[in-house]
Symmetry: C2
Subunit: 152 residues, 2 copies
């Protein structure tokens, strides 16, 4: 008697949509984490690098708000990135309470490698969907995220 039960999610929970979305999000998170692990980066590390690359130098507070990260969690992640030489912290000349964080040239190179790994992980993750579905899902995710912004 060896019951090799596969994944079998309770329909009564899946029906609503919130539970399934949470599970799929976890799977997506795992896939992204795996893609960055070989670079020694975590998900939030890459998020900080990408934010600095896209929006330019920011104070830690602003950087955190953009990514919905708690200020106390920003500290540790930036410590890691700074130790690797991927970001720079400098006092803000306009306000000594703030530190201006910027991405370094090495940080940009690392970010580029992370993007390559991410793209591969995405192709694999969304491999089961055809192009139209993948586009549709992406649109709905963006719409959903806009709602998240409001709610917070």
């Amino acid at each position: 008697v060896a019951p090799d039960e596969p994944l079998r999610l309770p329909p009564q929970l899946l029906d609503g949509g919130l539970y399934g979305l949470s599970l799929l999000g976890s799977a997506a998170r795992r896939a992204a984490i795996a893609a960055f692990a070989e670079l020694g980066l975590r998900l939030d590390h890459v998020a900080f690098l990408a934010s600095l690359d896209d929006f330019g130098p920011s104070s830690q507070r602003v950087l955190g708000r953009r990514l919905r990260k708690d200020p106390s969690d920003v500290v540790g992640a930036l410590d890691d990135l700074q130790a690797e030489g991927l970001v720079r912290r400098a006092p803000d000349p306009a306000d000594a309470r703030r530190k201006l964080v910027s991405i370094t040239a090495k940080g940009r190179r690392t970010l580029g490698r992370a993007q390559v790994g991410l793209a591969a992980a995405e192709d694999e993750f969304f491999g089961g969907l055809d192009a139209a579905d993948r586009r549709a899902l992406q649109r709905l995710v963006r719409a959903g995220l806009a709602g998240v912004d409001d709610r917070a």
Copy 2:
């Protein structure tokens, strides 16, 4: 100078789809957790109750595999549920290594309350989407979860 920056996610990460899906999944998870918090239940508590309700009594091993939970994590969650009288553990007469877990009448009542709270949370969470989009998102999530099943 008070920069009240809102959520502003890096486009270069969002473009691929995996990052956005991960974020939306986290938001969905938070919403579900909040819906169950007033009942003193966590997400996995409700998942176990729903699984037992939908599929009937199971060994802890099978119960865990169905929900993609590690056997070691099943133990603690069932301890909680059993302490509240929501599930029952009995030795499997066919195999003394196993324990048969079943949901109690009280567990079903609690699960019902959890479903009510979840439905409300879902209406609020998906409030920004029209009915067609909500249906489409749910379909794509199911398709995506099917892929997750394969990959694991």
